[in-house]
Subunit: 345 residues, 4 copies
């Protein structure tokens, strides 16, 4: 059994970690912290967990966290970078679900997150936790930076094209849409049901924090500086991300190879499912599950490759991928505890 | 492993059976029938099942079904009553999720379902599959009539009061609300998203088919003819039933005993959870799970007992309860395959 | 033209007043106040009003408000009772959409609203603004206490029965459901889309502030102390209230008279629409409109009268009724500016 | 008063025409046809219209339609092209809300709509009813082809860029999202609430019927063959379209001119509202209203112009634009009956 601590467990990512870990045969959650809810039973805050956990939230105590085999950070940015070095020094391994260790260029990080980075050493040493790219490094990592939700859906959708150099990497467009749970569980007028129910809009269209993270991954895949335009949108629903991706094929005669390329690229991946050419993946087909489903499209004789990629932002986009990383780090079956079908309808 | 057949698997109840059985360690679904979709892969109709099933829908073939240990009927009413006698004669056990065998008074059944009953013998012998009431009979039953969704939520909410004779059984009110999946997956104008999204209404307020089924159960519990007014409503969401129940306490001085009574009545039940007095159970706290959560309320010095009862109509109200019944029938742990936390948010 | 001021205009009731008044040919909104948003253009906060208003929010200034013919209060409770006496003394008439002046028994008011009442004189003199009951008094009122949303739907549904003494007034049940806009536009975790989307629950089941207001109205109608059980519920949608009402008919032989009674009672009412017996009014049939639609039901030979009543909580349940009251107070056609069809679908 | 007939009035476009025309001071709807619902009162099918119309649906009768000043077709494609020539010959003017007369190249039309065109003469003479482009021709038109919903949002978003030749017209991308009412009110499994609620997907990504219509308009605006990739998506809500548009600016130094260009282009347009640079228009800001709201974005130093354009698909995307065209055709104030604020929240 892996002794697990969770820092910052009151948000949607925290409850999702608890939900998934309850079904994981090797996970033993021994501690979950929250400054604001210390003393409250986990099951009182999240009644779906009644009967599954007897834990209560506690104040974050570094010594007790350090006694865990693995600590998940489900905190706002700026928290993990302060606590992680001490935990690792004590021999604890960490999966950070926040943005603290995702970006290698710390000037870029500071610009988008509005503060200096306090752990440049571990920012450099952290492994980016996208198993489809970094599996080998994850196995031995002490610190895994769990990818953002949009970056997961978009990178998995673009990767085969970029790795093979088939498209113009300077002209990538990602039009992405997310359910409201992506904004977390903080009180705000803008995320009230009365504000976002039965409505739709773009947000962050002039620049969103996930943009540099995605560019970094796409650039690495293509071996060149990727030019990406990324516009996120807010859906009137709770879970799910769909990203529609557009790229120009350099050699239009190779369009017919693409489906086979995607299928081959992801053939061994337990959590990437390439649908038949021309399919339309629905977010509900991955709701509650750790799967990313992808389909390709072409309009008439166009040279534009259209990719539709869907994930559950709280699972493959956060807690599920974190557990997938845990499984890899601890030498377990990568799919352990993560292989239930999605909830449909 | 239990060899399982499913008749009529294209609806929401069918896909939910498949979803839950995929996580059940003793279930082996060998056959799923559908006249309309024969030949189509299950995973093509329901992409959330990709990777979990290689089955395709087939024409219903009695001989092959008879080779199963257990057959679930997820058909419209009128189908099971024709096929069940033959299957049972061949040694197969049956859980019928339709309404064919739920009502003992066949005149009442015929009046509400608009056809004569074709299997009076098995209507008499069928066991009503509410484990909290009929567990012992279910163990050895050849045919279990799985309860309706509203009847499950409402009976579990009223039972302790009626069994103890504490309330006026002639003055019961059940105001119930269901998500749209309760209406099934048939094409209809009335269930379009454009018709029921962002709106709310009562339906069947002058009489709904679940009324006689509920009355039968409440009458049995109270030992007298129950007088029930039952009004269902349609919620602009997919899964979940909430029933708010009203009953008059005969002896108002006994109000303080009720919470303890409910807790004791359901203390050993794996799928009934009595919340603290004054709680408000949310349907999302049971989404995807087999739990029924119940809470009690009182307004000032009133003699009216208010009960709020929630279930997922597709799980405890249909497929989950059917599997719970299967577990009981086959001597398994009653919660096997059914103990995941609900999906929240 | 009526010179109008609005105090507390940033909430949903405020924007709804502005929306409706934009289409009112005799309304001239000259001032709208908000401490928190002073200086912001109304159209910047509510883009649906771009091109309709050039007003900006201002600090509440009593002198300028006193220059209006009519002031609407769309404030939290406790504000109007402090400002109203001064405005009336200055000759301004007031429609208060808050709860400050709705309840005549100030001990009851203080108990439910948690503060002493600061204007007992005007609490006594205020006219309860339910035009279907108090039309004559509204005409000359200086201060109208606009009814709450639940109280409007429930009183209009029960009134004909109680006025005629046909039902047992000590055994009334109102099971009511409201869209999320009823909770206003304050930041809160509990009203996030992620919390209430795709879910349903009762709330305030042990006692809600609208209970004493409704009891007061029902008692007046029946001439006796009404015994009401009232349970509100939260719908995963924005606008609309449905109340399902239950009452026991004293003389069951009179059931057949009820439809004609309702039709006669509301024949002259521009904003109460009695549907054919056995109809199921939908909240969408009144979305954005000032109408209350009502239908009656009976189950078999029961003595229970079932009434379903729907309104838009922001219109007939708040801003629309306030304008209806304004029309009456100023001798205008009662339906002026309020006669658009509801938005369906 | 304009005597108006509506052919095919039972769908969402039909009820929306009726809703808007009820508030139009010069409109007199004398006839509304439906084969399937002939004899049914309009208000029985659409309870929001109770009290506004006493009309019943009738069989389509050409002679009576020909007595109207104006006939709206709200029919599936293939109907109007058969009936229009006769009506025009009889002196009636027509606004066709179907796709029959939108596309000038009839080979293209036949390819996408799967039938030969039966009125090539009027296909050639029909005026495309986008007032922001064709206002003068609309004034005197006998037949106006009302634009599709996606084409309206997308053309208005791209027009200023293309008319000025500022962007590469061969590399246009339109990622569009629509509420479910765009699919109409026909019974279908795919549009059930249970299928599309709480989910999101692309559809028609390999080619959608609106693609040739949009390309035709964009090509006309740019004076060259536009290269457009258009992917529609289905939103879990009822009303509203948002289109996010991407185009490459030829001369990146001219980015700063764009906001002024858009504002100037639409300064005189009553139903196009250019928001401040960097705004995020919400579909709810136009719900029920005839407005198109547009905003521009740029990411860092990119040469990609991002445009977000929102409309209500049933109003500016269908019935409202049809009435706007009627107003122009009959010399009325273009905004007559169309100037109410949108319904928010």
């Amino acid at each position: 059994m892996i002794k697990i601590g969770i820092v910052g467990g009151t948000g949607y990512t925290g409850v999702e970690l608890l939900r998934l870990l309850a079904a994981h045969p090797q996970a033993d959650v021994v501690m979950i912290t929250s400054r604001s809810e210390a003393g409250m039973s986990v099951a009182d805050l999240y009644p779906n967990l009644r009967g599954h956990y007897s834990l209560a939230f506690t104040e974050p105590a570094e010594q007790e966290l350090a006694a865990c085999d693995l600590v998940f950070f489900a905190t706002p940015h700026g928290v993990a970078m302060r606590m992680v070095p001490g935990l690792i020094a004590a021999g604890t391994r960490v999966v950070d679900l926040s943005a603290d260790f995702r970006i290698k260029d710390l000037d870029v990080w500071s610009k988008w997150y509005g503060m200096p980075h306090e752990s440049p050493e571990w920012a450099a040493r952290a492994v980016y936790g996208l198993p489809e790219v970094e599996r080998d490094a994850i196995r031995t990592a002490q610190l895994v930076a769990n990818p953002g939700c949009y970056p997961t859906a978009i990178q998995l959708g673009f990767l085969p094209l970029l790795e093979q150099g088939l498209v113009d990497a300077t002209r990538l467009i990602a039009d992405a849409k997310s359910g409201a749970s992506g904004a977390g569980r903080q009180a705000s007028v803008g995320m009230l049901h009365g504000e976002i129910g039965e409505s739709f809009k773009a947000y962050g269209a002039s620049g969103h924090r996930h943009l540099p993270e995605i560019r970094q991954g796409l650039s690495a895949a293509s071996g060149t500086a990727a030019g990406l335009t990324f516009v996120p949108h807010l859906l009137p629903m709770i879970r799910g991300i769909e990203a529609t991706l557009y790229a120009e094929l350099k050699d239009v005669s190779r369009f017919d190879e693409l489906q086979a390329l995607y299928e081959a690229r992801y053939a061994q991946e337990p959590f990437v499912d390439v649908l038949p050419f021309g399919s339309h993946p629905e977010t509900r087909s991955v709701r509650g599950g750790n799967m990313c489903r992808i389909a390709l499209h072409r309009q008439e004789e166009s040279n534009v490759v259209i990719v539709s990629s869907v994930i559950d932002n709280l699972v493959k986009g956060a807690a599920g991928q974190a557990i997938q990383n845990m499984n890899i780090m601890f030498g377990l079956d990568e799919a352990l505890g993560l292989d239930q079908p999605a909830l449909l309808p």
